[in-house]
Amino acid sequence: MKSAALLFAYSLRRVRTLAIATGLLLAALQLVLIFVAGALHTTGAFDQLSALIPPFARELLGPSVTIIMSFSGIVCLGYFELAVMGALIALAVTLATTPASEVETGFMDLILARPLARHWIITRTIALTTLVSAAMLVLMVAGTWTGLWLFAPTGVAWPPAALIISLAINLGMLTLCWGGVAMAIGAASRRRSVAGGTAGLLAFAAFLLDYVARLWQPAEKIAWISPFRYYNPFDLITGNPLPLKNVAVLGGIALTGFAAAYVLFARRDISH
Protein backbone atom coordinates (compact mmCIF):
# COMPACT_ATOMS: atom_id res chain seq x y z
CA MET A 1 0.00 0.00 0.00
CA LYS A 2 2.84 2.35 0.91
CA SER A 3 4.59 1.48 -2.35
CA ALA A 4 1.38 2.10 -4.30
CA ALA A 5 0.95 5.50 -2.63
CA LEU A 6 4.54 6.35 -3.52
CA LEU A 7 3.97 5.35 -7.12
CA PHE A 8 0.78 7.42 -7.24
CA ALA A 9 2.59 10.47 -5.85
CA TYR A 10 5.35 10.01 -8.40
CA SER A 11 2.86 9.66 -11.26
CA LEU A 12 0.96 12.72 -10.12
CA ARG A 13 4.18 14.70 -9.99
CA ARG A 14 5.01 13.66 -13.54
CA VAL A 15 1.68 14.87 -14.96
CA ARG A 16 1.33 17.99 -12.85
CA THR A 17 2.50 20.42 -15.52
CA LEU A 18 0.16 18.97 -18.15
CA ALA A 19 -2.76 18.86 -15.70
CA ILE A 20 -2.23 22.37 -14.34
CA ALA A 21 -1.80 23.84 -17.83
CA THR A 22 -4.94 22.12 -19.14
CA GLY A 23 -6.93 23.08 -16.04
CA LEU A 24 -5.91 26.72 -16.23
CA LEU A 25 -6.71 26.87 -19.96
CA LEU A 26 -10.15 25.37 -19.41
CA ALA A 27 -10.83 27.74 -16.52
CA ALA A 28 -9.59 30.67 -18.60
CA LEU A 29 -11.93 29.63 -21.42
CA GLN A 30 -14.87 29.90 -19.01
CA LEU A 31 -13.78 33.42 -18.12
CA VAL A 32 -13.48 34.39 -21.78
CA LEU A 33 -16.90 32.92 -22.61
CA ILE A 34 -18.52 34.84 -19.75
CA PHE A 35 -16.76 38.02 -20.78
CA VAL A 36 -18.06 37.59 -24.34
CA ALA A 37 -21.55 36.66 -23.10
CA GLY A 38 -21.58 39.77 -20.93
CA ALA A 39 -20.52 41.96 -23.84
CA LEU A 40 -23.20 40.45 -26.13
CA HIS A 41 -25.84 40.92 -23.48
CA THR A 42 -24.90 44.53 -22.86
CA THR A 43 -25.09 45.40 -26.56
CA GLY A 44 -28.33 43.44 -27.06
CA ALA A 45 -26.66 41.27 -29.67
CA PHE A 46 -28.40 38.04 -28.64
CA ASP A 47 -31.68 39.09 -30.31
CA GLN A 48 -29.86 40.10 -33.48
CA LEU A 49 -27.93 36.81 -33.55
CA SER A 50 -31.13 34.81 -33.04
CA ALA A 51 -32.75 36.61 -35.93
CA LEU A 52 -29.83 35.60 -38.17
CA ILE A 53 -30.45 31.86 -37.67
CA PRO A 54 -32.35 30.48 -40.71
CA PRO A 55 -35.75 28.88 -40.01
CA PHE A 56 -34.60 25.32 -40.98
CA ALA A 57 -31.76 25.55 -38.51
CA ARG A 58 -34.10 26.87 -35.87
CA GLU A 59 -36.41 23.90 -36.51
CA LEU A 60 -33.51 21.44 -36.42
CA LEU A 61 -32.09 22.77 -33.18
CA GLY A 62 -35.47 23.16 -31.47
CA PRO A 63 -36.02 25.25 -28.36
CA SER A 64 -32.37 24.91 -27.39
CA VAL A 65 -31.48 27.63 -29.89
CA THR A 66 -33.37 30.22 -27.87
CA ILE A 67 -31.70 29.05 -24.72
CA ILE A 68 -28.22 29.04 -26.11
CA MET A 69 -28.69 32.56 -27.50
CA SER A 70 -28.74 33.97 -24.03
CA PHE A 71 -26.25 34.95 -21.37
CA SER A 72 -26.86 31.71 -19.46
CA GLY A 73 -26.61 29.65 -22.62
CA ILE A 74 -23.20 31.03 -23.55
CA VAL A 75 -21.97 30.49 -20.00
CA CYS A 76 -23.09 26.83 -20.21
CA LEU A 77 -21.46 26.45 -23.64
CA GLY A 78 -18.16 26.03 -21.83
CA TYR A 79 -19.33 22.57 -20.72
CA PHE A 80 -20.21 21.12 -24.11
CA GLU A 81 -18.05 23.01 -26.54
CA LEU A 82 -16.26 20.55 -28.80
CA ALA A 83 -12.75 21.75 -27.92
CA VAL A 84 -13.49 21.49 -24.20
CA MET A 85 -14.87 17.97 -24.52
CA GLY A 86 -11.97 17.00 -26.77
CA ALA A 87 -9.37 18.37 -24.36
CA LEU A 88 -10.88 16.58 -21.37
CA ILE A 89 -11.20 13.27 -23.21
CA ALA A 90 -7.69 13.56 -24.64
CA LEU A 91 -6.30 14.20 -21.16
CA ALA A 92 -8.19 11.23 -19.71
CA VAL A 93 -6.98 8.97 -22.54
CA THR A 94 -3.40 10.15 -22.01
CA LEU A 95 -3.53 9.43 -18.29
CA ALA A 96 -5.37 6.14 -18.69
CA THR A 97 -2.73 4.81 -21.07
CA THR A 98 0.10 5.46 -18.60
CA PRO A 99 0.71 1.70 -18.08
CA ALA A 100 1.23 1.23 -21.84
CA SER A 101 3.76 4.06 -21.80
CA GLU A 102 5.57 2.52 -18.85
CA VAL A 103 5.72 -0.85 -20.61
CA GLU A 104 6.98 0.82 -23.79
CA THR A 105 9.82 2.65 -22.07
CA GLY A 106 10.81 -0.33 -19.94
CA PHE A 107 10.05 1.58 -16.74
CA MET A 108 7.45 -1.06 -15.88
CA ASP A 109 10.25 -3.65 -15.64
CA LEU A 110 11.89 -1.65 -12.88
CA ILE A 111 8.62 -1.10 -11.02
CA LEU A 112 7.35 -4.66 -11.23
CA ALA A 113 10.74 -6.15 -10.38
CA ARG A 114 9.99 -4.76 -6.92
CA PRO A 115 7.50 -6.40 -4.55
CA LEU A 116 4.55 -4.50 -6.02
CA ALA A 117 1.40 -6.32 -7.13
CA ARG A 118 0.24 -5.62 -10.66
CA HIS A 119 -3.23 -4.51 -9.57
CA TRP A 120 -1.67 -1.46 -7.93
CA ILE A 121 -0.56 -0.23 -11.34
CA ILE A 122 -4.18 -0.14 -12.52
CA THR A 123 -5.48 1.22 -9.21
CA ARG A 124 -2.89 3.99 -9.41
CA THR A 125 -3.95 4.77 -12.98
CA ILE A 126 -7.66 4.86 -12.08
CA ALA A 127 -6.95 7.17 -9.15
CA LEU A 128 -4.78 9.39 -11.34
CA THR A 129 -7.32 9.62 -14.17
CA THR A 130 -10.25 10.23 -11.82
CA LEU A 131 -8.46 12.76 -9.66
CA VAL A 132 -7.06 14.80 -12.52
CA SER A 133 -10.36 14.72 -14.47
CA ALA A 134 -12.23 15.84 -11.36
CA ALA A 135 -9.69 18.59 -10.78
CA MET A 136 -10.23 19.83 -14.34
CA LEU A 137 -13.97 20.12 -13.76
CA VAL A 138 -13.49 21.80 -10.39
CA LEU A 139 -11.24 24.35 -12.08
CA MET A 140 -13.82 24.86 -14.82
CA VAL A 141 -16.60 25.41 -12.28
CA ALA A 142 -14.32 27.74 -10.33
CA GLY A 143 -13.61 29.58 -13.59
CA THR A 144 -17.33 29.91 -14.26
CA TRP A 145 -18.11 31.42 -10.86
CA THR A 146 -15.10 33.67 -10.96
CA GLY A 147 -16.16 34.83 -14.44
CA LEU A 148 -19.71 35.47 -13.28
CA TRP A 149 -18.48 37.52 -10.34
CA LEU A 150 -16.15 39.51 -12.53
CA PHE A 151 -17.93 39.93 -15.86
CA ALA A 152 -21.67 39.26 -15.48
CA PRO A 153 -23.61 42.46 -16.29
CA THR A 154 -25.77 43.84 -13.52
CA GLY A 155 -29.28 42.45 -13.49
CA VAL A 156 -28.62 39.50 -15.80
CA ALA A 157 -29.83 36.11 -14.60
CA TRP A 158 -26.99 33.73 -13.74
CA PRO A 159 -27.34 30.07 -14.70
CA PRO A 160 -28.44 28.09 -11.65
CA ALA A 161 -25.64 26.46 -9.70
CA ALA A 162 -27.45 23.10 -9.99
CA LEU A 163 -27.31 23.36 -13.78
CA ILE A 164 -23.58 24.05 -13.84
CA ILE A 165 -22.95 21.21 -11.40
CA SER A 166 -25.13 18.83 -13.46
CA LEU A 167 -23.29 19.74 -16.64
CA ALA A 168 -19.95 19.26 -14.90
CA ILE A 169 -20.97 15.88 -13.46
CA ASN A 170 -22.31 14.61 -16.78
CA LEU A 171 -19.22 15.85 -18.63
CA GLY A 172 -17.02 14.32 -15.95
CA MET A 173 -18.73 10.95 -16.35
CA LEU A 174 -18.29 11.13 -20.12
CA THR A 175 -14.59 11.88 -19.60
CA LEU A 176 -14.23 9.00 -17.15
CA CYS A 177 -16.07 6.68 -19.54
CA TRP A 178 -13.45 7.30 -22.23
CA GLY A 179 -10.76 6.98 -19.57
CA GLY A 180 -12.11 3.51 -18.80
CA VAL A 181 -12.17 2.50 -22.47
CA ALA A 182 -8.60 3.78 -22.97
CA MET A 183 -7.42 2.04 -19.80
CA ALA A 184 -8.74 -1.33 -20.97
CA ILE A 185 -6.99 -0.90 -24.31
CA GLY A 186 -3.83 0.45 -22.68
CA ALA A 187 -3.65 -2.43 -20.20
CA ALA A 188 -3.22 -4.84 -23.09
CA SER A 189 -0.95 -2.66 -25.25
CA ARG A 190 2.79 -2.27 -25.54
CA ARG A 191 2.62 1.18 -27.12
CA ARG A 192 0.90 4.23 -25.74
CA SER A 193 0.44 5.66 -29.23
CA VAL A 194 -1.46 2.53 -30.30
CA ALA A 195 -3.63 2.50 -27.18
CA GLY A 196 -4.28 6.24 -27.23
CA GLY A 197 -4.83 6.29 -30.98
CA THR A 198 -7.31 3.42 -30.82
CA ALA A 199 -9.24 5.00 -27.95
CA GLY A 200 -9.18 8.37 -29.73
CA LEU A 201 -10.50 6.88 -32.95
CA LEU A 202 -13.25 5.08 -31.07
CA ALA A 203 -14.24 8.32 -29.35
CA PHE A 204 -14.29 10.18 -32.66
CA ALA A 205 -16.39 7.47 -34.31
CA ALA A 206 -18.80 7.45 -31.37
CA PHE A 207 -19.05 11.25 -31.51
CA LEU A 208 -19.80 11.17 -35.24
CA LEU A 209 -22.43 8.48 -34.74
CA ASP A 210 -24.19 10.56 -32.12
CA TYR A 211 -23.92 13.68 -34.25
CA VAL A 212 -25.29 11.95 -37.37
CA ALA A 213 -28.12 10.40 -35.37
CA ARG A 214 -29.24 13.84 -34.26
CA LEU A 215 -29.57 14.90 -37.90
CA TRP A 216 -30.56 11.63 -39.61
CA GLN A 217 -33.36 9.54 -38.15
CA PRO A 218 -32.22 6.04 -39.35
CA ALA A 219 -28.94 6.35 -37.44
CA GLU A 220 -30.97 6.80 -34.28
CA LYS A 221 -31.41 3.00 -34.07
CA ILE A 222 -27.76 2.36 -33.30
CA ALA A 223 -26.91 5.66 -31.66
CA TRP A 224 -27.46 4.15 -28.24
CA ILE A 225 -24.05 2.51 -28.48
CA SER A 226 -22.34 5.90 -28.50
CA PRO A 227 -21.41 7.17 -25.04
CA PHE A 228 -22.00 10.71 -26.31
CA ARG A 229 -25.70 9.84 -26.46
CA TYR A 230 -25.65 9.93 -22.66
CA TYR A 231 -24.48 13.50 -22.44
CA ASN A 232 -27.21 15.80 -23.63
CA PRO A 233 -26.46 19.28 -22.34
CA PHE A 234 -29.44 20.88 -24.08
CA ASP A 235 -31.79 18.72 -22.01
CA LEU A 236 -30.13 20.02 -18.89
CA ILE A 237 -30.18 23.63 -20.07
CA THR A 238 -33.90 23.44 -20.79
CA GLY A 239 -34.41 22.69 -17.14
CA ASN A 240 -34.54 18.90 -17.05
CA PRO A 241 -32.73 17.24 -14.17
CA LEU A 242 -29.58 15.21 -14.76
CA PRO A 243 -30.88 11.78 -15.92
CA LEU A 244 -29.57 9.07 -13.62
CA LYS A 245 -29.62 6.70 -16.58
CA ASN A 246 -26.96 8.78 -18.32
CA VAL A 247 -24.73 8.80 -15.26
CA ALA A 248 -25.28 5.07 -14.74
CA VAL A 249 -24.48 4.15 -18.35
CA LEU A 250 -21.34 6.29 -18.53
CA GLY A 251 -20.25 5.14 -15.07
CA GLY A 252 -20.97 1.55 -16.06
CA ILE A 253 -18.78 1.81 -19.16
CA ALA A 254 -16.00 3.35 -17.08
CA LEU A 255 -16.23 0.63 -14.44
CA THR A 256 -16.31 -2.10 -17.10
CA GLY A 257 -13.21 -0.58 -18.66
CA PHE A 258 -11.45 -0.46 -15.29
CA ALA A 259 -12.40 -4.07 -14.53
CA ALA A 260 -11.20 -5.20 -17.96
CA ALA A 261 -7.93 -3.33 -17.35
CA TYR A 262 -7.37 -5.21 -14.07
CA VAL A 263 -7.95 -8.58 -15.75
CA LEU A 264 -5.95 -7.86 -18.90
CA PHE A 265 -3.00 -6.37 -17.06
CA ALA A 266 -2.87 -9.20 -14.53
CA ARG A 267 -2.70 -11.82 -17.28
CA ARG A 268 -0.45 -10.21 -19.82
CA ASP A 269 3.25 -10.61 -20.48
CA ILE A 270 5.22 -7.45 -19.81
CA SER A 271 7.54 -7.08 -22.77
CA HIS A 272 8.56 -4.03 -24.73
Binding site: K2, S3, L6, L7, Y10, R14, E102, T105, G106, F107, M108, D109, L110, I111, L112, A113, R114, P115, L116, A117, R267, D269, I270, S271, H272
Partner: protein
Protein backbone atom coordinates in the same frame (compact mmCIF):
# COMPACT_ATOMS: atom_id res chain seq x y z
CA UNK B 1 16.85 -23.02 0.12
CA UNK B 2 18.23 -22.25 -3.35
CA UNK B 3 18.31 -18.56 -4.30
CA UNK B 4 16.95 -19.57 -7.71
CA UNK B 5 15.35 -22.86 -8.61
CA UNK B 6 13.99 -23.46 -12.11
CA UNK B 7 12.12 -26.65 -13.00
CA UNK B 8 10.97 -27.62 -16.48
CA UNK B 9 10.48 -24.02 -17.52
CA UNK B 10 9.05 -23.54 -20.99
CA UNK B 11 8.01 -20.32 -22.69
CA UNK B 12 6.63 -19.97 -26.19
CA UNK B 13 5.93 -16.86 -28.23
CA UNK B 14 3.48 -18.22 -30.75
CA UNK B 15 5.43 -20.87 -32.65
CA UNK B 16 8.78 -19.71 -31.31
CA UNK B 17 10.13 -21.70 -28.40
CA UNK B 18 12.06 -19.16 -26.33
CA UNK B 19 12.81 -21.38 -23.34
CA UNK B 20 12.56 -25.15 -23.56
CA UNK B 21 12.26 -27.30 -20.44
CA UNK B 22 14.93 -25.40 -18.55
CA UNK B 23 16.16 -26.81 -15.25
CA UNK B 24 18.62 -24.85 -13.18
CA UNK B 25 19.54 -24.40 -9.55
CA UNK B 26 21.63 -21.48 -8.36
CA UNK B 27 23.69 -22.09 -5.24
CA UNK B 28 23.70 -19.71 -2.30
CA UNK B 29 26.63 -17.29 -2.38
CA UNK B 30 27.80 -18.01 -5.93
CA UNK B 31 28.11 -15.85 -8.99
CA UNK B 32 26.48 -17.69 -11.84
CA UNK B 33 27.08 -16.50 -15.37
CA UNK B 34 24.09 -17.06 -17.61
CA UNK B 35 25.38 -17.21 -21.16
CA UNK B 36 23.98 -17.56 -24.62
CA UNK B 37 23.80 -15.87 -27.96
CA UNK B 38 21.16 -13.26 -28.74
CA UNK B 39 17.73 -14.87 -28.67
CA UNK B 40 18.96 -17.88 -26.71
CA UNK B 41 16.39 -17.27 -23.96
CA UNK B 42 18.49 -15.52 -21.29
CA UNK B 43 16.36 -12.41 -20.91
CA UNK B 44 13.14 -14.40 -21.21
CA UNK B 45 14.26 -16.58 -18.29
CA UNK B 46 15.17 -13.53 -16.22
CA UNK B 47 11.81 -11.93 -16.99
CA UNK B 48 9.99 -15.08 -15.91
CA UNK B 49 11.90 -15.01 -12.63
CA UNK B 50 10.63 -11.47 -12.06
CA UNK B 51 7.08 -12.47 -13.08
CA UNK B 52 7.15 -10.04 -15.99
CA UNK B 53 6.51 -12.99 -18.30
CA UNK B 54 4.34 -16.00 -17.57
CA UNK B 55 5.70 -19.44 -18.49
CA UNK B 56 3.70 -21.95 -20.53
CA UNK B 57 4.80 -24.73 -18.23
CA UNK B 58 7.22 -25.42 -15.41
CA UNK B 59 7.97 -23.13 -12.53
CA UNK B 60 10.65 -20.98 -11.02
CA UNK B 61 11.22 -19.90 -7.46
CA UNK B 62 13.38 -17.34 -5.72
CA UNK B 63 14.54 -18.01 -2.16
CA UNK B 64 11.82 -20.65 -1.84
CA UNK B 65 8.96 -18.49 -3.10
CA UNK B 66 7.29 -19.34 -6.39
CA UNK B 67 7.85 -16.49 -8.83
CA UNK B 68 4.29 -16.58 -10.15
CA UNK B 69 2.10 -17.59 -7.22
CA UNK B 70 4.14 -15.90 -4.49
CA UNK B 71 5.83 -13.24 -6.58
CA UNK B 72 5.76 -10.43 -4.01
CA UNK B 73 7.77 -12.38 -1.46
CA UNK B 74 9.97 -13.79 -4.19
CA UNK B 75 10.93 -10.27 -5.32
CA UNK B 76 11.30 -8.82 -1.83
CA UNK B 77 15.00 -9.64 -1.66
CA UNK B 78 15.98 -9.16 -5.28
CA UNK B 79 18.01 -6.39 -6.87
CA UNK B 80 17.47 -6.20 -10.61
CA UNK B 81 19.40 -4.49 -13.36
CA UNK B 82 17.58 -4.67 -16.69
CA UNK B 83 19.41 -4.87 -19.99
CA UNK B 84 18.08 -1.45 -20.89
CA UNK B 85 17.27 1.11 -18.23
CA UNK B 86 13.81 2.38 -19.13
CA UNK B 87 13.66 5.54 -17.10
CA UNK B 88 11.86 8.77 -17.87
CA UNK B 89 14.37 11.38 -18.89
CA UNK B 90 12.65 14.18 -17.02
CA UNK B 91 13.52 12.62 -13.67
CA UNK B 92 16.70 13.35 -11.76
CA UNK B 93 19.01 10.53 -10.72
CA UNK B 94 18.04 11.04 -7.08
CA UNK B 95 14.31 10.84 -7.90
CA UNK B 96 14.88 7.53 -9.68
CA UNK B 97 16.88 6.08 -6.80
CA UNK B 98 14.41 7.32 -4.18
CA UNK B 99 11.39 6.00 -6.07
CA UNK B 100 12.91 2.58 -6.68
CA UNK B 101 14.20 2.44 -3.10
CA UNK B 102 10.72 3.25 -1.84
CA UNK B 103 9.23 0.47 -3.96
CA UNK B 104 11.81 -2.07 -2.79
CA UNK B 105 10.07 -2.63 0.53
CA UNK B 106 13.30 -1.97 2.44
CA UNK B 107 14.68 1.03 4.22
CA UNK B 108 17.73 2.07 2.26
CA UNK B 109 20.93 2.65 4.13
CA UNK B 110 22.09 5.98 2.70
CA UNK B 111 25.71 5.29 3.56
CA UNK B 112 25.45 2.17 1.37
CA UNK B 113 24.19 4.32 -1.49
CA UNK B 114 27.01 6.82 -0.99
CA UNK B 115 29.53 4.00 -0.92
CA UNK B 116 28.20 2.68 -4.23
CA UNK B 117 28.37 6.18 -5.70
CA UNK B 118 31.97 6.48 -4.66
CA UNK B 119 32.95 3.07 -5.96
CA UNK B 120 31.30 3.70 -9.29
CA UNK B 121 32.59 7.29 -9.41
CA UNK B 122 29.15 8.79 -9.50
CA UNK B 123 29.36 12.31 -8.00
CA UNK B 124 26.51 13.39 -5.74
CA UNK B 125 26.03 16.46 -7.92
CA UNK B 126 25.12 14.26 -10.88
CA UNK B 127 22.18 12.86 -8.95
CA UNK B 128 20.59 16.31 -9.12
CA UNK B 129 20.76 16.31 -12.91
CA UNK B 130 17.95 15.10 -15.14
CA UNK B 131 18.48 11.80 -16.90
CA UNK B 132 18.30 13.38 -20.33
CA UNK B 133 21.73 14.83 -19.53
CA UNK B 134 23.20 11.43 -18.64
CA UNK B 135 25.51 9.48 -20.91
CA UNK B 136 24.93 5.76 -21.54
CA UNK B 137 27.63 4.88 -19.02
CA UNK B 138 26.11 7.12 -16.33
CA UNK B 139 22.70 5.54 -16.82
CA UNK B 140 24.32 2.14 -16.43
CA UNK B 141 26.02 3.22 -13.22
CA UNK B 142 22.71 4.56 -11.93
CA UNK B 143 21.17 1.20 -12.80
CA UNK B 144 23.84 -0.60 -10.81
CA UNK B 145 23.35 1.69 -7.81
CA UNK B 146 19.57 1.11 -7.80
CA UNK B 147 20.10 -2.66 -8.03
CA UNK B 148 22.67 -2.81 -5.24
CA UNK B 149 21.38 -0.06 -2.92
CA UNK B 150 19.01 -2.21 -0.86
CA UNK B 151 21.76 -4.82 -0.36
CA UNK B 152 19.50 -7.65 -1.58
CA UNK B 153 20.06 -11.36 -1.01
CA UNK B 154 19.95 -12.01 -4.74
CA UNK B 155 21.12 -9.84 -7.60
CA UNK B 156 19.76 -10.49 -11.07
CA UNK B 157 21.83 -8.56 -13.58
CA UNK B 158 21.16 -8.49 -17.31
CA UNK B 159 24.35 -7.60 -19.22
CA UNK B 160 25.69 -5.51 -16.32
CA UNK B 161 28.84 -4.13 -17.94
CA UNK B 162 27.20 -3.07 -21.20
CA UNK B 163 28.15 0.59 -21.69
CA UNK B 164 30.69 0.75 -18.84
CA UNK B 165 34.24 1.84 -19.57
CA UNK B 166 37.11 -0.54 -18.61
CA UNK B 167 37.81 1.28 -15.34
CA UNK B 168 34.20 1.07 -14.27
CA UNK B 169 34.10 -2.57 -15.28
CA UNK B 170 36.98 -3.13 -12.85
CA UNK B 171 35.07 -1.34 -10.09
CA UNK B 172 32.03 -3.43 -10.86
CA UNK B 173 34.01 -6.69 -10.67
CA UNK B 174 35.37 -5.65 -7.26
CA UNK B 175 31.84 -4.85 -6.17
CA UNK B 176 30.75 -8.33 -7.19
CA UNK B 177 33.56 -9.90 -5.20
CA UNK B 178 32.50 -7.86 -2.16
CA UNK B 179 28.83 -8.81 -2.33
CA UNK B 180 29.79 -12.42 -2.83
CA UNK B 181 32.04 -12.16 0.21
CA UNK B 182 29.00 -11.11 2.22
CA UNK B 183 27.09 -14.21 1.15
CA UNK B 184 24.96 -12.62 -1.55
CA UNK B 185 24.14 -14.51 -4.72
CA UNK B 186 24.54 -13.09 -8.20
CA UNK B 187 22.79 -14.34 -11.32
CA UNK B 188 24.09 -12.43 -14.31
CA UNK B 189 23.69 -12.75 -18.02
CA UNK B 190 26.64 -11.72 -20.11
CA UNK B 191 28.15 -11.78 -23.57
CA UNK B 192 31.62 -10.93 -22.32
CA UNK B 193 33.42 -14.25 -21.91
CA UNK B 194 36.51 -12.79 -20.29
CA UNK B 195 34.27 -11.23 -17.67
CA UNK B 196 32.58 -14.56 -16.98
CA UNK B 197 35.97 -16.25 -16.79
CA UNK B 198 37.10 -13.71 -14.27
CA UNK B 199 34.18 -13.27 -11.88
CA UNK B 200 31.86 -16.26 -12.16
CA UNK B 201 31.97 -19.43 -10.10
CA UNK B 202 29.79 -21.38 -12.48
CA UNK B 203 28.30 -20.85 -15.87
CA UNK B 204 25.02 -21.95 -17.38
CA UNK B 205 24.93 -21.82 -21.14
CA UNK B 206 21.65 -21.76 -23.04
CA UNK B 207 21.23 -22.36 -26.72
CA UNK B 208 17.88 -22.07 -28.50
CA UNK B 209 16.16 -22.02 -25.14
CA UNK B 210 17.81 -25.16 -23.83
CA UNK B 211 20.47 -25.53 -21.18
CA UNK B 212 23.45 -27.07 -22.96
CA UNK B 213 26.10 -26.60 -20.31
CA UNK B 214 26.19 -26.16 -16.57
CA UNK B 215 29.63 -26.29 -15.08
CA UNK B 216 32.01 -24.63 -12.70
CA UNK B 217 34.48 -22.31 -14.40
CA UNK B 218 37.30 -24.35 -12.88
CA UNK B 219 36.01 -27.58 -14.40
CA UNK B 220 35.51 -25.92 -17.75
CA UNK B 221 39.07 -24.68 -17.78
CA UNK B 222 40.23 -28.25 -17.25
CA UNK B 223 38.15 -29.35 -20.22
CA UNK B 224 39.56 -26.66 -22.43
CA UNK B 225 42.26 -27.64 -24.89
CA UNK B 226 45.74 -26.13 -24.47
CA UNK B 227 47.69 -25.01 -27.51
CA UNK B 228 51.10 -26.66 -27.65
CA UNK B 229 53.77 -25.70 -30.20
CA UNK B 230 56.77 -28.02 -30.48
CA UNK B 231 59.80 -26.92 -32.48
CA UNK B 232 62.38 -29.55 -33.54
CA UNK B 233 66.07 -28.94 -34.19
CA UNK B 234 66.33 -31.70 -36.82
CA UNK B 235 64.06 -33.31 -39.37
CA UNK B 236 61.33 -35.48 -37.87
CA UNK B 237 58.33 -37.18 -39.46
CA UNK B 238 56.15 -34.32 -40.63
CA UNK B 239 57.03 -30.63 -40.38
CA UNK B 240 59.71 -29.26 -38.04
CA UNK B 241 57.09 -27.30 -36.09
CA UNK B 242 54.03 -29.03 -34.63
CA UNK B 243 50.97 -27.01 -33.54
CA UNK B 244 48.81 -29.20 -31.35
CA UNK B 245 45.60 -28.89 -29.27
CA UNK B 246 45.80 -30.97 -26.12
CA UNK B 247 42.80 -31.77 -23.95
CA UNK B 248 43.54 -33.16 -20.50
CA UNK B 249 47.01 -33.95 -19.09
CA UNK B 250 50.14 -33.29 -21.13
CA UNK B 251 51.93 -36.51 -20.00
CA UNK B 252 51.02 -38.70 -23.02
CA UNK B 253 52.20 -36.03 -25.46
CA UNK B 254 55.48 -35.51 -23.61
CA UNK B 255 56.11 -39.26 -23.55
CA UNK B 256 55.44 -39.45 -27.31
CA UNK B 257 57.91 -36.73 -28.22
CA UNK B 258 60.50 -37.56 -25.59
CA UNK B 259 62.84 -39.34 -28.05
CA UNK B 260 62.64 -36.59 -30.70
CA UNK B 261 65.15 -33.71 -31.12
CA UNK B 262 63.13 -31.00 -29.37
CA UNK B 263 64.42 -27.44 -29.63
CA UNK B 264 61.56 -25.64 -27.89
CA UNK B 265 58.06 -26.19 -26.47
CA UNK B 266 55.45 -23.43 -26.05
CA UNK B 267 52.33 -24.19 -24.01
CA UNK B 268 49.46 -21.70 -24.14
CA UNK B 269 47.04 -21.76 -21.20
CA UNK B 270 43.57 -23.18 -21.88
CA UNK B 271 40.96 -20.55 -22.72
CA UNK B 272 37.46 -20.78 -21.37
CA UNK B 273 36.31 -18.87 -24.42
CA UNK B 274 37.31 -21.71 -26.72
CA UNK B 275 35.03 -24.16 -24.92
CA UNK B 276 32.15 -21.75 -24.73
CA UNK B 277 32.47 -20.77 -28.36
CA UNK B 278 32.39 -24.43 -29.25
CA UNK B 279 29.06 -24.75 -27.43
CA UNK B 280 27.79 -21.61 -29.07
CA UNK B 281 28.62 -23.04 -32.47
CA UNK B 282 27.30 -26.56 -32.24
CA UNK B 283 25.84 -27.11 -28.79
CA UNK B 284 28.30 -29.93 -28.18
CA UNK B 285 27.89 -32.12 -25.13
Amino acid sequence: MAPISIRGLTKRYGNVLAVNNLNLEVIQGEILGFLGLNGAGKTTTIRILLDLLRPNSGNASILGHDCQTDGLRARLNVGYLPGEMGIYSDLTGREVLDLLAGLSGHVINMSRRRELQERLEFPAGDLRRRLREYSTGMKRKLGLIQAFQSDPQLLILDEPTEGLDPLMQESFYRLLVDVKGRGRTVFMSSHVLSEVDRVCDRIALVRKGELVLLSSVEELRRLAARSVRVLFSEDVPGPRSWNLKVEGPLGPLLRTIAGLPIQDIEIEEAKLEDVILKYYRDGAK
